[in-house]
């Protein structure tokens, strides 16, 4: 347990936090990477998924994208991207070394949960609710913005939340392939036999991950509560706030219970 005490001492040393390459700097760098990648994935993936959900087409693809993403190791994608010349290990402004490769990999792994949840959210708006909207003379666009989108919001939020935690984890792994961010503290510690440092970095990464998850859960819950008029209209699992984003209960004992409801893990 000497290692635990040494780790505490390492974390307590202000010199490890400040300056370029310090914990604060790397943490900000990784947060910047995480939110940029998440933003890219939302901008790219959300409109497509919502549109497909509105049309009720492409469901097979939208739902299975999560399964495919799960089979591909994040480490492998990062490795391939870093070694691929057009992307490489070059610096990218504030994103640091191999910033572009990391950003692409992170955005790619943020897409599956966002796409699956947004598609399912819109697709599962009950038929009679849609019929009622049609009966009121709503146009396709009105039906989408005033009916489907508000009803799908909790699931969309759950998908973004899953993606956020996923991207943070993947951003950490980037350090295995000379990427930027806090993972470097872990890898540097391990490769140089400086285990208090490696462990200290792991503690910081884990704490930030938990903070991100809890904050995202709170944002998600406030989104759910902001629209009391829509709650209960759609048959969806409102426990989303307790679990890591529960995709609406898709059937009972048909083997699909949590397919797509658990995020990828990097």
């Amino acid at each position: 347990m000497k290692l635990v005490i040494d780790t505490m001492a390492w974390l307590g040393d202000g010199a490890n936090w400040g300056g370029s390459g310090g914990l604060w700097h790397l943490m900000l760098q990784q947060l910047l990477l995480t939110f940029t990648a998440l933003g890219i994935a939302v901008v790219v993936g959300l409109p497509v998924a919502l549109w497909l959900g509105h049309l009720g087409r492409g469901g097979f693809l939208a739902i299975n994208v999560a399964g495919v993403g799960r089979a591909v190791p994040t480490f492998a994608v990062l490795a391939l991207l870093v070694m691929w010349e057009p992307v490489g290990t070059d610096h990218l402004g504030p994103y640091g070394r191999a910033g572009l490769a990391t950003l692409i990999a992170l955005a790619a792994f943020a897409l599956p949960p966002i796409i699956t949840n947004a598609y399912v959210g819109v697709d599962e708006v009950p038929r009679d609710v849609r019929d009622a909207a049609d009966g009121m003379g709503m146009s396709g666009w009105q039906k989408f913005t005033r009916v489907e989108l508000p009803l799908a919001l909790p699931l969309i939020a759950a998908g973004v939340r899953l993606a956020l935690v996923q991207v943070w984890a993947t951003a950490t792994i980037a350090a295995l392939v000379a990427g930027p961010g806090l993972g470097n503290v872990i890898t540097a510690g391990f490769y140089n036999g400086d285990y208090p440092k490696g462990l200290g970095g792991a503690v910081v990464v884990a704490v930030v991950a938990l903070i991100l998850e809890v904050s995202a859960a709170m944002v998600q819950r406030s989104l759910q509560n902001a629209r009391p008029d829509t709650r209960g209209d759609a048959p969806r699992d409102t426990e989303g706030g307790n679990h890591a984003g529960t995709t609406a209960g898709r059937g009972g004992v048909d083997g699909d219970v949590t397919d797509g409801s658990i995020g990828l893990r990097g």
Partner: protein
């Protein structure tokens, strides 16, 4: 693609040519690839089996004491939130730089998925089925093994498939403590700019995940003949 190259001619995986796909590489490094694959499969199998062994009692605990359910699921979800590159180091003080660290870490991840699906699956067993079995004089344990678990098998198997596929992918990160199976090849490949090796390790990894997924699907179909034809 030539399989035999002269001594002067650099092979397609030499640092000067460094092709992504290179037949020679697969021939010359066959043993290395096989060893890494076996290593990878062993770590994955041990992790998923350990996960299963830990998940069942936890799921039963959550069901027996409804108040425990939120705690059990909450702790599992909390563990799942931790990045793998952070979880492995956090286990090192307890298990050292060993394969156990990787196996235990991966088992903890699969735990989340397995416990949730077990709880959901057991909950979905119809009450009248349980009443009928109780009426027939089934004991508690016989009820569990003969009635409840078999009926909960489809969601449990679905969870097992997700857990297995994720574990195959995550095993690579074990390279941090040198027990990453094919992840070790990814790591040394990036380090030495060895394209054929990184591509090969990536492809084998995805192939293992897909094959195991298919295999478990077949097992599920065979184990639950009654659900065939009812739902796809």
């Amino acid at each position: 693609m030539t399989l035999s190259t002269g001594a002067d001619e650099p092979s397609c995986y030499s640092l000067y040519v460094n092709e992504w796909f290179c037949g020679d590489y697969y021939v010359d490094r066959k043993q290395e690839l096989i060893d890494a694959t076996i290593d990878h499969l062993t770590i994955t199998a041990l992790a998923v089996l350990l996960g299963l062994a830990m998940a069942l009692p936890l799921a039963l605990l959550a069901r027996r004491f409804p108040r425990m359910e939120a705690t059990v699921l909450g702790v599992c979800t909390g563990i799942y939130t931790l990045p793998s590159l952070a979880l492995f180091p956090l286990l090192v003080p307890f298990t050292g730089l060993t394969r156990t660290t990787v196996v235990l870490g991966l088992a903890l991840y699969s735990l989340t998925i397995l416990v949730r699906n077990m709880v959901e699956g057991l909950r979905a067993v119809p009450d009248d089925v349980i009443e009928a079995a109780t009426g027939l004089g089934y004991s508690r344990s016989k009820l569990l093994w003969r009635v409840e678990l078999p009926l909960a098998l489809p969601p449990i198997m679905a969870g097992l498939r997700i857990a297995t596929v994720s574990t195959v992918a995550l095993t690579t990160v074990g390279a941090l403590v040198s027990y990453g199976g094919l992840g070790n090849l990814l790591f040394t490949g990036v380090d030495g700019d060895f394209r054929a090796q990184v591509m090969a390790a990536s492809l084998i990894c995805v192939a293992i995940a897909l094959v195991l997924d298919l295999l478990l699907l077949v097992v599920q179909r065979l184990a639950t003949p009654w659900s065939r034809g009812v739902r796809g």
